[in-house]
């Protein structure tokens, strides 16, 4: 896992940052409550809710029946009355049961009520990956949420953002879906102890460069950082954006970059086909047509479900190597220069099995 630490900072994991954010939200506003399957159990949603029920009690930390659709509706109903529910699903996949509530009642009520109603609901959904999760515990499904007007959809990549965007989501008067990748839980980085927000307003440039613009979301930002840094040492400058907010989509910083670099690659966390990257590629082409030196390219998951076996998973996910190869394809004159970069990232990848997020990971989930 790339480490985004600077000297003299407070380094914690994203999981701890999320726990801290939740604690601070509960402390700051009595209208906030937490609800989900496992929020009050001894594992506390991969450690992100641990200890909260002891501190805030069963009315602020609600362990729920296994009934995602109904309880999403309950959360929305309470939000309409002014409460600020924070709901958690241990997998995005489980939220498939709750889409009617989310895409209709959460997403549309502000509009349909002609502005009279607000739905200040936040839903964390965790994207599974690795350890043989299989096809129904590993879906990202970003476009399902991002396609529908009225939701905000965010995908933090760093501990700093995981905390600041969660607090911003809970503060927001609108329904916010946080697609939180299981593998960023292990990422560490600087996180201030105090309560702060990261505005839910758009992409962040995490690397500068002039040769190609790269847009990634969530865990893939960490892969892309690795790729960008390896390419930089070969003299290829990748300007890397952590997209962060899928909807509303503030595309302008990306367009400005593409106008300069003339090249764009988008890395999707979910499936490539009809994925997030298609919208960004289409928008960039529309806005930067005269500036493009190559057609925008997209990486993402292939056109089949996530297989469980490690024999099949090696080629399933995009990674830093495929990103560097793609850069080589759209800057053919750079392909040769990128060979050492490919070697660097391959060497690093070889130190951790393909199906786990962190060398210390031993299962079972």
């Amino acid at each position: 896992m790339p480490d985004t630490a600077l000297p003299e900072t407070r380094i914690i994991s994203a999981a701890s940052a999320i726990l801290e954010a939740t604690e601070q939200c509960l402390a700051a506003d009595p209208r906030v409550y937490l609800m989900g399957e496992g929020v009050a159990d001894p594992k506390g949603i991969f450690g992100t809710t641990l200890g909260l029920v002891e501190r805030w009690g069963r009315d602020r930390v609600i362990e729920m029946p296994v009934a995602e659709n109904g309880l999403t509706g309950v959360a929305i109903g309470s939000a309409l009355m002014g409460q600020r529910p924070l709901m958690v699903h241990q997998r995005v996949d489980f939220a498939l049961l709750a889409l009617e509530q989310l895409l209709n009642n959460a997403a549309k009520t502000f509009f349909v009520s002609n502005g009279a109603h607000r739905v200040p609901l936040t839903v964390r959904m965790i994207i599974g990956r690795g350890w043989g999760q299989g096809p129904e515990h590993s879906q990202a499904l970003e476009p399902i949420f991002a396609h529908v007007p009225g939701l905000k959809v965010v995908m933090p990549a760093t501990p700093y953002d995981a905390k600041g965007m969660l607090i911003a989501a809970v503060d927001d008067d609108n329904p916010v879906i946080i697609l939180e990748h299981r593998w960023i839980h292990y990422a560490t980085g600087h996180v201030p102890a105090e309560r702060y927000t990261v505005p839910l307003s758009g992409p962040q440039r995490v690397r500068e460069g002039d040769d190609v613009t790269i847009v990634a979301t969530s865990y893939n930002v960490l892969e892309a950082i690795e790729a960008a840094d390896a390419m930089a040492s070969c003299g290829i400058g990748a300007e890397l954006f952590d997209l962060r907010v899928i909807r509303p989509l503030d595309i302008q910083p990306i367009l400005d970059s593409v106008k300069r670099t003339g090249r764009l690659i988008i890395v999707d966390t979910g499936a490539k086909m009809y994925g997030i990257g298609a919208e960004i590629a289409a928008r960039a082409t529309e806005a930067c047509f005269g500036h493009l030196r190559a057609a925008p390219r997209r990486l993402g998951l292939p056109d089949y479900p996530t297989p469980s076996s490690r024999g099949l998973i090696g080629t399933f996910y995009p990674n830093s190597s495929r990103l560097i190869e793609t850069v080589g394809e759209i800057i053919p004159e750079a392909a040769e220069r990128l060979i050492p970069a490919l070697a660097t990232v391959a060497e690093h990848r070889a130190t951790v099995p393909v199906d786990i997020p962190h060398p210390a990971f031993r299962g079972p989930f």
Binding site: G70, L80, M81
Partner: protein, 316 residues
């Protein structure tokens, strides 16, 4: 004691309003689906008159009577049906989305059963904020077939929330009979299964509905938990739209006639006569006042402007 006069006025008003909607529907000025409640007025009256303005109701596609009985604004409702800027949702929702928080009509939703957990959530919020309110979910005899009813009912029972599920059993889901959709068992079993206080009663008897509802409201306010109240009734007109449709073959004219004899307005006026509360002159004056109100409200709706596209924000 049920307030017979108030119930009668409410029901007569709703009846006249719906009749007038039906009559004027052919004008093609109300350009949206309408699901009328003619024949079912006793339930909205008995239920809503037992509530406080701050109590919250969540309704369905068949929401007109619920809204009006809850204190809704006739002008705003008809304007909404006419797609006008002065409608309670500014014309955005149409007849299946009647939202008016001010009178405690939290939402009405066209997706069957979608409002049920919303109402339970409102009850949860009331509990969390220590208001002494009650939430009501209106549900049809089909809505309880949706799994989300059970999910919401289980949670409401688990947390003893102040929620009342009012099931208007009009025997049909669109044109499909109850016995084509569920085994032949009393509907109240579906509430009782979750440990919820459940009762069934004649839904065409407004004073009975009121009394049962008052009891359920008292239970809810006292912290004794949810109730599931089944009120048997019958829809006179077609599922959606202004017409009678006994000719299309999904129900027998005899069944319809038998239910029509049990007109909730007639039942209540008989009760009023029996208890010496009926005043023919007052009823006449009431009807005239209602008709004048309706006429003015349609004028308001027709004369109101259509909304303009302009800024269409989806975020607060």
């Amino acid at each position: 004691m049920a307030p017979l006069k108030a119930l009668f006025r409410d029901m007569l008003r709703n009846r006249r309003i719906e009749e007038e909607i039906a009559r004027r529907y052919a004008d093609q000025e109300m350009r949206c689906p309408v699901h009328l409640s003619i024949g079912q007025e006793a339930i909205s009256a008995g239920v809503c008159l037992a509530l406080e303005p701050t109590d919250q109701v969540v309704s369905t596609h068949r929401a007109h009577a619920h809204y009006l009985s809850k204190g809704g604004d006739l002008n705003r409702m008809l304007a909404e049906f006419h797609g006008k800027a002065t409608g309670c949702c500014g014309g955005r929702g149409g007849s299946m989305h009647i939202f008016d928080h001010d009178v405690g009509m939290l939402l009405s939703l066209p997706i069957v059963a979608s409002g049920i957990p919303i109402a339970v959530g409102a009850a949860l919020a009331m509990r969390q904020t220590n208001t002494n309110g009650v939430a009501v979910a209106f549900v049809g005899d089909a809505a309880v077939e949706e799994g989300v009813f059970h999910e919401a009912a289980n949670f409401a029972a688990l947390r003893s929330l102040p929620i009342i599920f009012v099931c208007e059993n009009n025997l049909f889901s669109v044109y499909t009979r109850l016995d084509d959709r569920q085994p032949d068992l009393p509907l109240q079993r579906l509430g009782a299964a979750h440990g919820i206080h459940a009762e069934t009663a004649d839904g065409n008897d407004a004073s009975l509905v009121y009394n049962i509802m008052q009891n359920a409201v008292a239970r809810a306010r006292a912290g004794a938990g949810p109730s599931f109240l089944v009120f048997d009734t019958y829809r006179w007109l077609e599922h959606c739209g202004p017409n009678y449709d006994n000719d299309i073959g999904y129900r027998s004219p005899e069944e319809f006639e038998a239910w029509k004899l049990r007109d909730p307005l007639a039942i209540l006026s008989e009760q009023m006569k029996a208890s010496g509360q009926w005043d023919e002159g007052e009823a006449e004056r009431q009807r005239a006042a209602i008709d004048a109100e309706i006429d003015a409200a349609f004028r308001f709706a027709l004369e109101s402007p259509l909304p303009q596209p302009g800024e269409m924000a989806v975020y607060a």
